[in-house]
């Protein structure tokens, strides 16, 4: 299988789905002439033309709504947010229209649309450009929320998202775009709502998604050196959660750490904890601990920023604590 970057995997998914279905188009800031702020859409304007690769003004609320309107009459828009930080301006269209139009219309009007772009922190982008809002969108019935960690999942899940008949929030990672992995060519679909064990283990479940998957794999290595066998469970989809996978893994390990990039308060990890204590209370041999971003706006200084992020060391420490090794 070819080794390609997460960026190119997304580009493949976009190209293949646009070729497959003329109803699919890409819209957002700088997706065309500029080839994408992060080059995810490189070459698509040349291949599909300006009607299907549409540069917009800097009007997130407006073009998100344009996408929703187009989806209401049967097109399948892919709306790119340059970053999810800016999507706060568009959140009314996502929550009040995209997520509700099917219900409000008594099932008459659907909204097959994908909102995508990078989420979370990169390096020293500061407080307004380093946020991870998956828990906000996952809070909303009517939406699906996907956060792939690997190039293969990025391709397979983006293709599934584009074919899904519901509004899908698809969060990528600027720091993931250059990461490489094996990606099946052509028709490669990863089902929405299915987690994957990225590394099997026995003593503790490290539950993660997006950027924290790599951090957990690293942590699992470090733990192995200390004789601890950690299982790394990549949720991949935040909403709907794969409860079966969660219960199976933790019922085996009896201990869990949930690692997420975002803030702790009412984060997606809190929901994972809630599901686990409710679903398999008697299987838990220790409290579930969460490793999250520090509860502060992201600072610019690189050392402060590093200290604010969830990392392998913090995950290892949490794992030892739930194993009562600390």
């Amino acid at each position: 299988m070819p080794m390609i970057t997460y960026r190119d995997a997304l580009n493949q998914a976009l190209r293949e789905e646009m070729a497959r279905d003329p109803k699919v188009f890409l819209m957002g800031e700088e997706v065309g002439v500029y080839q994408g702020a992060y080059k995810v859409s490189r070459g698509l304007l040349e291949e599909f033309g300006p009607n299907r690769v549409v540069d917009t003004p800097i009007t997130e609320l407006g073009f998100a709504g344009v996408g929703v309107g187009a989806a209401m009459v049967g097109l399948r828009p892919i709306i790119e947010f340059m970053t999810w930080n800016f999507a706060l301006l568009a959140i009314d269209q996502i929550i009040n229209t995209a997520a509700k139009i099917r219900y409000m219309s008594g099932g008459q009007v659907g909204c097959p649309i994908v909102f995508r772009g990078p989420a979370g922190a990169a390096l020293q982008l500061g407080a307004q450009h380093s946020q991870s809002f998956e828990s906000v969108y996952a809070h909303i019935p009517g939406l699906k929320v996907i956060m792939p960690a690997t190039p293969a999942d990025a391709k397979g899940l983006l293709k599934s998202a584009i074919r899904d008949d519901n509004p899908v929030v698809f969060m990528e990672g600027e720091m993931l775009y250059n990461t490489k992995g094996e990606v099946p060519e052509g028709e490669h679909l990863v089902p929405i709502g299915k987690a994957e064990i990225k590394r099997p283990g026995e003593h503790v479940s490290l539950i993660c998604y997006s950027k924290t998957v790599a951090a957990c794999l690293k942590a699992a290595e470090l733990l192995e050196a200390e004789g601890v066998s950690a299982e790394v469970l990549d949720l991949r989809t935040i909403r709907p959660l794969d409860l079966e996978a969660l219960f199976t893994s933790v019922s085996r390990t009896h201990r869990a750490v949930v690692a997420e990039e975002g803030w702790y308060f009412a984060g997606a990890g809190a929901q994972v904890v809630d599901e686990l204590q409710k679903g398999i209370f008697d299987e838990l041999d220790a409290p579930i601990l969460r490793v999250t971003g520090a509860d502060v706006p992201m600072p610019y200084n690189k050392y402060l920023e590093k200290a604010a992020k969830a990392d392998p060391a913090k995950i290892v420490a949490a794992a030892k604590q739930v194993l009562y090794l600390a």
Partner: protein, 337 residues
Amino acid sequence: MASPKTARKTDTKLADKYRFYLRQMLLIRRFEEKAGEAYSLGKIGGFCHLYIGQEAVGVGCLSQLRPDDYITTTYRDHGQALARGITARAVMAELFGKAAGCSKGKGGSMHLFDASLGFLGGHGIVGGHIPLSTGIGFAIKYRERDQVSVCFFGEAAVNNGAFHEALNMAGIWKLPCIFICENNRYGMGTALDRATATWNISERAASYDMSREVVDGQDLGEVMAAMDRAVVRARRPAQPTLLEIRTYRFVGHSMSDPIHGHYRTKEEVEAHRKRDPILIWTERLKSEGLIDDAGVEKLDVEVKAEVQDAYDFADQSPDPEPEELYTDVYAPAGDPA
């Protein structure tokens, strides 16, 4: 396609149309009066915004559309829904929250839908649906069709960012959109000039390189004529239009709002009621000999019966099944993936 030019008695097709428009305005008026009654009886809940006084805007604009055109509007949507041809039964049943309602009783007064008629809601966030209509216009152009996307909103919505962003895109991309600002002078209790820096709303079209017109919304003929011109511009090759249609709300903002609160006087309301769009159009038809008092009376009796039938139907028809709570949240089919 109707034109506002004087209908000679010989032109029976046009004459019938003109009488039909009168009937539609009467139907809306009687329907809204009945809805107000039903609301007071607790048969209708939530917010309920009536269209009384603005009938000529909805009827006049929609009279110029084709069945395959698209409409989006606000929470004040009963009149346009009826004018587009959703039955009084289906609309009233929706206000009653019944399964037979045009949104299965799940949408309510503010969220009327009929996809088969291109009537795409019924939206509750002021300004929020304007980008949707730009998107529908985008889809029409994308498919190289010659439909138009029509969007109704109040004058208070023109201050909202959604209006600005949506019209700018329709302007750059030259989409087949007609933006209809129903300027009834008040956003709830706020008079136009207290909320909008420029009194002449249609001038804002200049910021979006868009055609514009100011229209007397109490005169059905004027509305039809202006809408006719806008539709002609919008069909390919497309040129978007902002129509500022000046009208007046004869009743309160919603059922929970008095007809004239602190924000306008009884005298002001009375003065405007004199320019009742139904009277003005009736006079016009009479002067052209297209109808007489008996004919008007007959129409009124008809629509009253239609509204009563809708009321009884809504009242007697069943609520949605309890399971409906959980349907329509996601598409029925699982992921194709």
